[in-house]
Amino acid sequence: MYDAPGRTRRQTINPSDYLSAALLIAGAVFFLAGTLGLLRFPDVYTRLHALTKADNVGLGLMVAGLAVQAESWSVVGKLLLIWWLVLIAGASVAHLIASGALQRGIRMWKP
């Protein structure tokens, strides 16, 4: 996305590129599923379920796909830190929203 000035694009394609492409596409599929759930599920609890679970896995796959391309281990460490931060923030916020919804007496959807 961001073309750093002075960096030339690599032209040859390595096997690791296929691996990271596969991981990134798999991650995008999980994000798509999570977003579909967010839009189509009937109440706040099921929507949270779809959003946090699917997006956490999707981001993990994306981080793995980018880590394959990383230039050094410190970049891998930063990517893992980002994933860990999103995991812990997502889990906590999902809990806070769900408990807030319970306190306000929003009933769970029954089919």
Binding site: M1, Y2, D3, P5, L81, L85, I88, A89, S92, H95, L96, S99, R104, G105, I106
Partner: protein, 321 residues
Amino acid sequence: MTLLTWVFDSLLGLSLLWLAWRALACPDLFKAIVLFVAFGLLMALAWVRLAAPDVALAEAAIGAGLTGALLMAALAKLHPTEAHDDFTVPPEKNVTKVWSWQWLPAVAILLVTTGLGYVVLSLPPYAAGLSTEVAANLAISGASNPVTAVLLNFRGYDTLLEIVVLLLALLGVWSLNSASLDRKAAPGIVLDTLARLLTPIFILVAAYLLWVGAHAPGGAFQAGAVLGAAGVLLLLAGWRPRAGLMALPLRLVLVTGPATFVIVAVLTLLMKGQMLEYPPTQAGVLILILETAATVSIGVTLAALFLGGDPRKNNRNKNQT
């Protein structure tokens, strides 16, 4: 520009316009704020597309994060009793419109925007701006990230005034309102644990952004915003600083940034005859000192803005009664 990036840019631009429109038109204010935060995050993506990663960091932390938190806190104070089942306030309270004949401002703004668009499109497709001047003087600026060099060296004057604006805004908020320092009801173990776990990491990230700003995207404002976010999280988790810290210590921390800037400005004025013109050999050290002081002040000021009032006033009243 390839077809794929063109499609992506167009989609991003249309999403930005759509989100802005929904945030400004939807009747529910809570939804409007959520849409505005989403708008800020997409703005950060647009800054990356425009090759402005420094701006993207600032937008994501300040434009989307802290502004969203401020708006949410204000909405909660505005309608404290009207929290409904579905997190909304009655829509009829929010859709009062001034103009019953909206076509008049619409036509006027359409004309103005057409003019603006025409002016933008008639600009030359290539313009170097000040990029050659910045590149020529980067070596003596004390920073290899051009944005940091502009912020702290070439246009240090702007940054000095900006930090003063931040302090003035806080003084305005303090003279209007007082804030309670009573510890809030226990917000639950999850939020408490989250705040305890994340605060050290926030401080570490802020230090990293401050350090890396000399040669890569980052710097005092992004680092200060992360520190401010840590403060907001602690305040949300019910933490309140001790009343003794609110008097002199808080004020000293708040003026550290502006005071360091003013001292450096006066020293350079006396030594070089030009405000904030650093000697090239010491420029790197001076920038680091200024940025560190500014980061601490910006972080604490942003957290104090979120608290939304003078924490001492309330105390004083309590002592009198």
